[in-house]
Symmetry: C2
Subunit: 370 residues, 2 copies
Amino acid sequence: MTDADYRSELDTPCLVVDSALLERNIEEMSAYARARGIALRPHIKTHKTAEIAQLQRRAGAVGFTCAKLGEVEALADAGVLDDVLVAYELVGEQKIRRLLRLVDRLRITVAVDSVAVAEPLAWAVAAAGKRLDVVIEIDTGLRRAGVEPGEPALRLARELQRMPGLRVRGLMTHEGHAGRATTREEMERLARQAGEAMVATAELLRKHGIPVEVVSVGSTPAAFATTQVAGITEMRPGTYVFYDAAAFRFGRIGPERVALRVLATVISRPAPDRAIIDAGSKTLTTDPPPPDRRGFGYIVEYPHATIVRLNEEHGIVEFPAGTPAPAVGERIEIIPNHVCPVVNLQDELFVVRDGRVVGTWPVVARGKVR
Amino acid sequence: MTDADYRSELDTPCLVVDSALLERNIEEMSAYARARGIALRPHIKTHKTAEIAQLQRRAGAVGFTCAKLGEVEALADAGVLDDVLVAYELVGEQKIRRLLRLVDRLRITVAVDSVAVAEPLAWAVAAAGKRLDVVIEIDTGLRRAGVEPGEPALRLARELQRMPGLRVRGLMTHEGHAGRATTREEMERLARQAGEAMVATAELLRKHGIPVEVVSVGSTPAAFATTQVAGITEMRPGTYVFYDAAAFRFGRIGPERVALRVLATVISRPAPDRAIIDAGSKTLTTDPPPPDRRGFGYIVEYPHATIVRLNEEHGIVEFPAGTPAPAVGERIEIIPNHVCPVVNLQDELFVVRDGRVVGTWPVVARGKVR
């Protein structure tokens, strides 16, 4: 992506998507899911755009995953959602009212991890004369939300069965702790353990007469590992459409595979070893680097440089003595540490093919945190 | 702000502004500037809303400061900008074209810190038959953009005077390094040094026949310190409208003074010492805590709890053993570590007075990073 027209054409900072790389990433994950016979239900949190959801669907996604109802509403309004898993506990009367409206528009399944979360949902849908599909969120090691696998999950499943309006479709987990591993071996071990805990819990429920149709896992770093466990029926990766610098450490992904970059301009060269760029924390976010890397992103043209500090609209870049450094006005491309919150800061993505801007995709679910 | 109607009325996560505290913060800074005889030119990066800009103006602000032209355009379109300092180096043909359009709409001054930045501006405005007011950005210790005080600033001023189209109005600095100090004494010492370097540089320029009308400093933490130096003519604080957890360490500001809070809901209680809230990094940002604090924000109702980890839509909160902890569905209010990027993630602010929602203010310059 160097010396191309779009680099001088676009105002900065902005997000540039290489459509060929995007399509390759989407096709690779789809082909894997097809080959394993696993349903692919991508998480839209990474891209939040209708156009990329459409590409995923055409490549074989069975439906989508969202965290927040606002994401569901935005993508349903854009006409690309008909089957969605809300991988999130929905709590509070405002959320339940919005959910009841969505139940009529599309096939929706929501996560629950406690009686306290499930009961208000159950009574609300039953009182409205509706039914709601739920999956039980299992904590396979991330220590976030979720009930413990095994007996605690079974106890919750039995309580859910006694509630009106709910239909238990199965189990879901987000094995995000595997993605935080420092080596590929550790990542694969944690992912396998998570997958095995899910399948064992599904078997336990079935043994007690509770049908488990869905055993769903989700995480891009662990996508090809967790799904090696027989009995997993669904995967929900998100970041794979673009990838980011956090993906580099497991060896499979390098900068040449990353489909989204931040195009930035050097606005000041106050010292020989320092450049200031127009992308700060309001563009790159302060999400920290993965354990094997330093700084707030990977500069494609200057891989030895480090983005040492971010202010809101300034990136402070340091160059090792004797290495090349850019001049004022030069444009550089940055691979973010974590691409998802970076996309969430922008109103649009600029789509590039063969070095030219071929489209602009609105980030329709940007900022939909409710 | 407890037990009030808005806490159950609003969907979460959302940003709640206490209008009485907001007005107090605005009035306090205005009164200080008036008493010192210093022009107050607030930075709009913190609030990015027309309504708050109007309050600042009514309290006596002489104009505003922006970083990006997109902020200028959005607030000018909202009808609240007529005099603005762009405290940022504008580089690239797209920026210059936009600047030329703005020059006709309002009084605009831009920062320059090098010949490489100034020359394209000079020739572009001269060729268009226009003039542009500039200030020289001085690096008083932040090590970001800016020319060194003293002789280097004088050399640049002379070069600017030889360029067509430009009028040098004076000097500006952002003494943000003072705000990163760990004690109030250190902050005040760094702020005073920055102010003295500015005034000495202004004197040097004047001695060489270069008029210096503006000596501008800017930073909320150092606002009452830098401006103690005689000869400072203008201050550009931003965060003071709301304040945040970073402000606590200098002693003057406590939680009771903070005008903006994130209202969040507990969505899971998977363990006795852990709660999961619906505000993650897409709401609170991963901006780290100031040196004296831990976690990703200050929970007003549970000050002993720590927001130990953020995923995009989840906040993981830990409670010390034996301390009270909230139930699923309970609402809590969080003071962010750094309020500016938090506001930049939201489409609107909910305005509360006497415990009731009295308005919604659109964040019109949200995401305007270009």
